[in-house]
């Protein structure tokens, strides 16, 4: 197997321990796929935590999702999908030795990454302002009137364990960024029938179950009402910040990787059509993109 690859001996891009550039490229690619598998498993732990808590306390997630700005989330999704397109095109440009185009495509992808983080900054600072933080720092409060709005609850609430003990809310409930008119009074019909234990539910009582005798299925909620905060709504924000935060760190990693690509490009690494490095970064970036799509679906669009 050694003899047939004589030509590669003088290729500066071929490491000494490989027989051929093809073997080297294949090795790098297999290594990258394995690394991406570990990345997905790394996030997998958080997805499992999400599944466990949402399975036990669905009302917490329905409540929490109201405070996420779907429009901004959708904007970020579009930005990332577009950046996946530009980096995929960059791989093509590298294969065709279109170095100038390659440079601009990498820069475009990087700008998308920065745009994503910018939007994320807007979202995070709104959460910060309203104290809608992870459990240990969760302290929902209102500083400015315009920070409130009436949440429109689309459709019906089907959460049998929604906490409905509060009938009149004197204090203003914490709501998402935006605007508000005035304190809202939630009116909920109370079904005096006792809670019937759901045979499918866990043997461990969910923490969000209301006091016996008061809690009951919510048959129908008025559209203009604020959903009443269930117990331990804070867990939603813990999971939200852990997942999006870890994803944000990976976006930063992607920016670093693209800066490295630009450095390689400047050094002339891609002049001979060696596209492996671009290919590796592109694969990584696609995974970052895919994980975000799942985050968007699972955190923003669960209402």
């Amino acid at each position: 197997m050694a003899a047939q690859h004589h030509d590669d001996d003088h290729d500066p891009n071929l490491a000494h321990h490989f027989e051929s550039t093809e073997q080297q490229r294949q090795s790098a690619k297999l290594g990258m796929w394995l690394f991406l598998a570990t990345e997905i498993l790394f996030f997998g732990g958080l997805f499992v935590a999400y599944t466990v808590y949402r399975g036990n306390h669905p009302e917490v997630f329905v409540f929490g999702a109201h405070f996420l700005d779907t429009a901004l989330g959708a904007l970020n999704t579009v930005v990332l999908i577009f950046s996946s397109f530009t980096i995929a095109w960059a791989v093509r440009a590298a294969q065709l030795k279109q170095i100038k185009l390659l440079k601009w495509l990498i820069i475009a992808t990087m700008l998308c990454a920065f745009a994503f983080l910018g939007v994320k900054y807007v979202e995070y600072s709104a959460k910060w302002k309203h104290g809608l933080l992870w459990a240990g720092a969760y302290d929902p409060h209102v500083e400015h009137e315009e920070a409130f709005e009436t949440i429109e609850v689309e459709g019906e609430l089907h959460t049998p364990e929604a906490d409905v003990e509060i009938i009149e809310i004197e204090e203003i409930q914490p709501v998402a960024e935006g605007e508000i008119v005035e304190p809202v009074v939630a009116e909920v019909e109370i079904d005096p029938a006792p809670v019937v234990a759901d045979p499918d539910s866990s043997t461990i009582a969910p923490a969000a179950r209301g006091p016996e005798g008061l809690a009951g299925p919510v048959e129908e909620a008025d559209h203009d009402l604020v959903p009443v905060e269930p117990l331990n709504a804070r867990v939603f924000f813990s999971i939200y910040f852990m997942m999006t935060g870890l994803h944000g760190i990976h976006v930063l990693g992607g920016i670093a990787a693209m800066l490295w690509l630009l450095k390689c490009l400047r050094r002339g690494d891609f002049d001979g059509g060696h596209f492996t490095k671009v290919d590796m970064v592109a694969l990584y970036w696609h995974v970052v993109d895919i994980i975000w799509i799942y985050l968007f679906l699972l955190l923003y669009l669960i209402d």
């Binding site: 050694a2 090795s27 394995l34 498993l41 732990g45 720092a137 867990v235 813990s238």
Partner: protein, 565 residues
């Protein structure tokens, strides 16, 4: 690499005339920044044996404290820290990286007839991650240690005042070191096998490393995210494991064991690979049941992901869950027993040489059998309720991890020592220390089986009077064990300076790493191989002139000469 290229050294082709990897490049920096798998393996060897020494000191302190009930040499708080540090250092710094990163790094490319692992930079990165992780762990030990036990169970680990963040960050980083090693080995085995070496002509040590690597890559990320959540819990209070904030502490146990149960197979699978090599060579026979041994490694790797719940039989799992996990746990016994029976069948009617490595093989078979069978006691639901959290668990764990992994590691170390450093150690002292380790180990831990079955709880500072004799016997056993290790350190270090030069193939093995000089040159081989059967011991004969073994037909496995550049 190419056939028609002369050696760049200008020397005659032949490994004997080339500079060994030990002298190729001088100075500490040429080691710390080397991309050579052999040097990285040796650095790992130094690093993990240092950790083993540190963890051993903690163990001796724990055993000394237990000489008497009540205070002996330390307070109860210090005792909690000592057993935690013993566990954390031994598990995360020594035994998980142990065989793959130290011995595996050195041997794997040589067994493939290759010049290096596929991703040498990643290999060096792995070593550096190990160093950084170790620094975090040591910082934790200095600034207040950890008293949670090596399992870091919440909610205690989120509330104790000790240095949990530093230790868990260290373990987090060590996890990436482990992932990088595993990833590298998978790629190397897939892409760099020589001509003629199909999957089922690989040496079984490589099957062991390959199945280990699969677990390293697939399980370790879960430990990473778990520890990250634990750090976030302590630093920010994210509350995912904190019941006062709506979290669930048992979720931590699930996450932790989803990694840490497969992790015990990360520890044992490469050890089984070493035994497979040694048992064939020192019995002078072809390995028996090659395919069964190879497949059983993969089977153990797969089963390893499905049994984590057996650590939580008493943590409030439902009865049906417990039953399923119990049944799956029993199924691990099948591939394990397949291996043991095949090793025994290999020895049957062989001409067994009781050299030091073979003594460790025999130790392994004896101790691993006890360790494995007592695992069934713990996998059975009714007996586990009685034995849970007693010394029985401690003894079982040490019979598998020490009696299995460490003993195999020592066997492998003695087997490949001549190849690594080009020197023979004193065979007589090797046998004496192997015997001391065997006796000391059994005295230390067999007593713990007895204590555990009588209800002595693990991790206790105190004990009732009835256990005094057994505790003291156990402590004396640990001293004998320590003596065995000091003798071993003595003659191994002595051999580096005064040992006889090692022949290329001192044991009569047919795998490729013995086809180069001892120690190997920087580029490993001056030939490309057409690998044959790795257990065809009949193709070798003893050569009294070199006191080593040579091939009857040296050209039989050579594809092309030249290429050492």
């Amino acid at each position: 690499m190419a056939v028609d290229n002369p050696s760049h050294d200008g020397a005659a082709v032949g490994t004997q005339n080339q500079e060994s990897y030990l002298t190729h490049g001088k100075g500490i920096l040429s080691w710390l920044f080397t991309l050579d798998h052999k040097r990285i393996g040796v650095m790992y060897l130094v690093a993990i044996t240092s950790s083993f020494f540190l963890g051993g000191v903690f163990a001796l302190l724990v055993r000394t404290e237990l000489l008497t009930s009540g205070p002996t040499i330390m307070t109860a708080d210090s005792y909690n820290k000592m057993f935690t540090l013993h566990g954390a250092v031994m598990i995360f710094l020594f035994i998980i990286p142990g065989i793959p990163a130290a011995i595996g790094n050195f041997v794997l490319p040589l067994m493939l007839g290759a010049k290096d692992v596929a991703l040498p930079r990643l290999n060096l990165t792995s070593f550096w991650f190990w160093m950084v992780g170790a620094v975090f762990a040591v910082v934790s030990i200095i600034v207040g240690a950890v008293d949670t036990g090596w399992t870091f169970y919440t909610p205690y680990s989120t509330t104790t005042g000790t240095a949990v963040i530093s230790m868990t960050l260290g373990v987090f980083i060590l996890g990436f070191s482990s992932i990088f090693t595993g990833l590298n080995f998978i790629v190397t085995i897939h892409k760099m096998r020589p001509e003629g070496m199909t999957w089922f002509k690989m040496p079984l040590f490589l099957w062991g490393l390959y199945s280990t690597a699969i677990i390293q890559v697939l399980a370790t990320p879960i430990l990473g995210i778990t520890l990250l959540l634990l750090v976030a819990e302590r630093a920010l209070g994210v509350g995912i494991f904190d019941p006062t904030l709506g979290g669930d502490p048992v979720l931590f146990q699930h996450f932790f064991w989803f990694y840490s149960h497969p992790a015990v197979y990360i520890m044992i699978l490469p050890a089984m690979g070493i035994i497979s090599e040694l048992v064939s060579v020192f019995s002078g026979k072809h390995i028996f049941g090659y395919r069964f041994i190879a497949w059983s490694s993969i089977a153990i790797a797969m089963f390893s992901f499905l049994v984590w719940g057996h650590h939580m039989f008493t943590s409030g799992q439902s009865g049906i869950t417990n039953m399923i996990f119990s049944a799956l746990t029993f199924s691990v016994a099948i591939p394990s027993a397949v291996k043991v029976f095949n090793w025994l069948a290999t020895m049957y009617k062989g001409s067994i040489r009781l050299a030091t490595p073979m003594l460790y093989v025999l130790s392994f078979l004896f101790l691993f059998a006890i360790g494995g069978l007592t695992g069934l006691f713990l996998g059975a639901l009714s007996t586990d309720i009685h034995l849970h959290d007693t010394y029985f668990v401690v003894a079982h764990f040490h019979y598998v991890m020490f009696g299995g992994t460490v003993i195999a590691f020592l066997g492998g170390l003695h087997y490949w020592w001549p190849k690594m450093f080009g020197k023979m150690y004193s065979e007589r002292w090797g046998q004496i220390s192997a015997l001391l380790v065997f006796v000391g180990f059994n005295l230390t831990f067999f007593t713990q089986f007895v204590m555990g079955s009588h209800g002595m709880p693990r991790r206790y500072y105190n004990y009732v009077e009835e256990f005094t004799t057994l505790h003291q016997a156990s402590t004396i056993g640990s001293y004998v064990l320590a003596l065995g290790f000091f003798i071993m350190a003595g003659y191994l270090i002595h051999s580096l300076f005064r040992g006889k030069p090692a022949p290329d193939n001192p044991w009569g093995s047919a795998t490729l790493e013995w086809e180069t000089s001892s120690p190997p040159p920087y580029y490993n081989f001056d030939r490309d191989f057409n690998a044959g059967d790795p257990y065809d011991l009949k193709s070798l004969q003893y050569d009294p002139a070199t006191q080593g073994w040579v091939r009857k037909d040296p050209q039989s496995i050579v594809l092309a000469e030249g290429g050492a550049h």
